[in-house]
Subunit: 463 residues, 2 copies
């Protein structure tokens, strides 16, 4: 059956890409209220295709509530006609990050463009393209199986992954029985290197916060009031400068207390990966030097150590030229990546207390939690991981490497906690795919190999 | 003649205000390239009125050059028919600060609105309303003098005061002989308190700069790269936090070396002014406490001590919600107020060298000077100051107080340096007029008293 489904997929590659382009044209930016209609349009696009290929019980589950009026719908579908066979819960997301800064895109973010074997668009790899691999693998299996799948499948595709995923998290918490499955399949990660089949077995968690600093009642002229009025940007800078020392060590009291050290076997495996820090600095980061906590390798720092980053500091005057304003308030968007066994609740409490203790003179600080996600480590010793590595071996002809991811996929933690199931993180992005940045892309060869690997995985789980 | 001119002014107050409103409706924001047409429209408005009232040689002097293609025109007019009599150079500006944040205005910034005896609009007091006092005083004097003024007058009204005034500065440097005069009159300052006639005899200078921090080559995902990629906002925060200590003392080496201490007489006079720091904190600033250099009063800190302020930090993600980006670059808009005998060139060099010495790991810093202005102290022992205090005494029935201003009016330094003339800074703003902030206003009673005081001053200088 694998052969037949893979043949179907290969014969239909061109159409699959055209369908993906249509989905990529929908600017489903979940954080932007003005794109709420586009986000729904993307949900309806995915639901319509799930219906067309033969999935059942396809529906949009509304997640908006009185507290969260802007919640985006969750797409659900299932096919559960093999009693006694395992059930795979396929997860993906149809929402995307904002595309700004627009002027750095070589082709417009919502006009998908093929160049050099890649498809360029916001969401190409994160996660519309990878989610589409699931849909197309299922279509190929339906075609090969004359309308039947080799395994029971539920599909959930959310529209809030880029804004914290509260809608699906609440659904998993409150209606977990409707998602009963044996294993989850998530394709929202990357391969360690081109042609190197990779399973991600650990993810960092995160807390995303805002610190608002308020000084004067209203904006003031810096000539008249400079020297007497508190400056919120100076205050935020003073706070941020005390979150880490100059070397990159986090100074929040207690922040490292729960950090679990990777096993010796894991550290040894990481050292064996094809990774060169200088090459990484030059080709991926492009900065004059790398930064971060002293005493740890880049892979340890990005996979197994917590971090603090600042994403933007809204407020004041940001136009061209000069405006001599002391703004009444300013905000810093600050996030922290967490690793096992840290918890968002405890880490946020430590951070908030510390920031408040640093409050500069004349300033009132407010520390807000925007969203959070648990760090997780996926167990490697189970049959589903075996099915995944076998499937990828058949496609790539190579052994799979086990890595961790520095990013956060909070839903994986929810699946562990609420559904008590492991997640197979089988992703086909590449390190230079520009996630969350201008010129996001997806390598089309990986799109095709991803579909074939998922076909193999679903057949393997059902076997 | 004073009586006749003042009577004319009083009879025409209503029309004068309506004319001012028409000028305020033109959004002549000089820093915004998209408003270049409006800036020119405001220049033409002023020129047309100067022609109508009887001024001669009215023209727009273009200041745009190959290096400064966005330069805004300088309005010039004169009336020089009294050989042997002194010449007064009236200076004002028709450009305004940006109006943002728009949602904090009670009435739209470019729809002038009267409330409680005030006129609210961007530019109401800074400086369209005050500049219009000059024009209306001249009109009243022409009317009272049957087409003749009591003194020779040149008028210059620039359109770049809010962006550094480079156009008029260059004109003063290169064509100073065309502005030959005995004294300059500038109304761009404020009264120390309502009903307290005030002359400003000192102004701080400034350097307005940008620090650009560049880290990675492109925006990166903070999950994947957090812990290895340099963060420009963290870097800028580290730099800014080292510009001043926690108490507000500036840490730039050598920055205080040239600071002149006010005379004992000046300090004594300031202590006698009706000023209460707690009242100022509560009513003007509205912060939980005041800040600034320890050991100096608020008036000393805002008039006679240098400062550092941050006005905005463009870059990264500033929208609502969360975006987990490590931006490739970020900018801090940082300005410093200077006092006699500091010089912009030396202060900028000290600042630039210090900032560069603080450059955090992984970051490339670029320090740019956007514009600058000299600090000045105006001599009080001359006949023009006497003419001004006499004129204000006649209108207000009170003795004039001598203060300094914390802001910068670079042109005053240019007049001293290039034209070798003193400037009378006779301003009629109020401390709560919201200069450079939302809900800028001008108290109409002060608009009328300003016109009458200027009538008296011009007659006094000509007598």
């Amino acid at each position: 059956m694998t052969t037949k489904a893979v043949e179907f997929a290969q014969e239909n590659e061109g159409r699959f890409v055209e369908e993906l382009k249509a989905l990529l044209r929908i600017p489903s930016v979940s954080t932007a209220p003005e794109h709420a209609g586009d986000v729904r349009k993307a949900a309806e696009f995915v639901a319509a295709e799930l219906t067309r290929i033969g999935m059942e019980n396809v529906r949009l589950i509304e997640t908006a509530t009185a507290e969260r009026p802007g919640g985006h719908p969750l797409v659900y579908a299932d096919w559960l006609k093999l009693p006694g066979a395992p059930t795979v819960l396929c997860y993906g997301h149809y929402d995307v990050q904002p595309a700004e800064p627009l002027d750095e895109w070589k082709s417009p973010p919502f006009e998908p463009t093929e160049r050099d074997g890649n498809i360029y668009a916001r969401g190409a790899v994160d996660d519309k393209g990878q989610m589409w691999m699931h849909v197309k693998a299922l279509e190929s299996l339906f075609a090969a199986g004359a309308g039947k799948l080799p395994v029971n499948v539920r599909v959930t595709v959310e529209g809030e992954e880029e804004v914290g995923g509260e809608g699906i998290a609440a659904f998993v918490r409150e209606h977990g029985e409707q998602l009963k499955a044996d294993v989850a399949l998530v394709s929202d990660t990357e391969m360690f290197a081109p042609d190197l089949p990779t399973l991600c077995v650990g993810l960092r968690g995160m807390i995303y916060t805002e610190i608002e600093a308020r000084g004067a009642r209203t904006d003031l002229h810096s000539g008249m009031y400079g020297g007497a009025a508190p400056n919120p940007f100076v205050a935020l800078s003073q706070v941020i400068a005390q979150l880490k020392d100059a070397d990159g060590k986090i100074l929040i009291p207690g922040f490292y207390d729960k950090v679990a050290v990777p096993t010796d076997a894991e550290l040894k495996a990481w050292r064996a990966l094809p990774f060169d820090e200088e090459h990484y600095r030059e080709t991926e980061v492009g900065s004059v030097s790398l930064t971060g906590e002293p005493g740890y390798s880049v892979l340890e720092r990005t996979w197994a150590r917590p971090t603090v980053d600042v994403h933007g500091m809204p407020g004041g005057f940001i136009g061209a030229g000069a405006k001599t304003v002391i703004p009444a308030k300013a905000v810093a968007k600050v996030s922290m990546r967490l690793v096992p066994d840290m918890t968002p609740a405890e880490s946020f409490a430590q951070y908030k207390a510390y920031v408040e203790s640093l409050c500069p003179k004349g300033i009132v600080l407010e520390v807000r939690l925007i969203h959070s996600g648990d760090p997780i480590v996926v167990s490697t010793d189970n049959i589903y991981v075996k099915a995944a590595t076998d499937a990828m071996h058949a496609v790539f002809g190579k052994e799979t490497v086990f890595v961790r991811g520095g990013g956060s996929i909070p839903i994986v933690g929810d699946f562990v906690r609420e559904l008590k199931i492991p997640t197979v993180l089988m992703g086909f992005g590449l390190p230079d795919d520009n996630l969350h940045a201008p010129n996001e892309k997806f390598h089309l060869a990986n799109f095709y190999r991803g579909i074939e690997s998922i076909i193999g995985f679903l057949i393997g789980v059902g076997a």
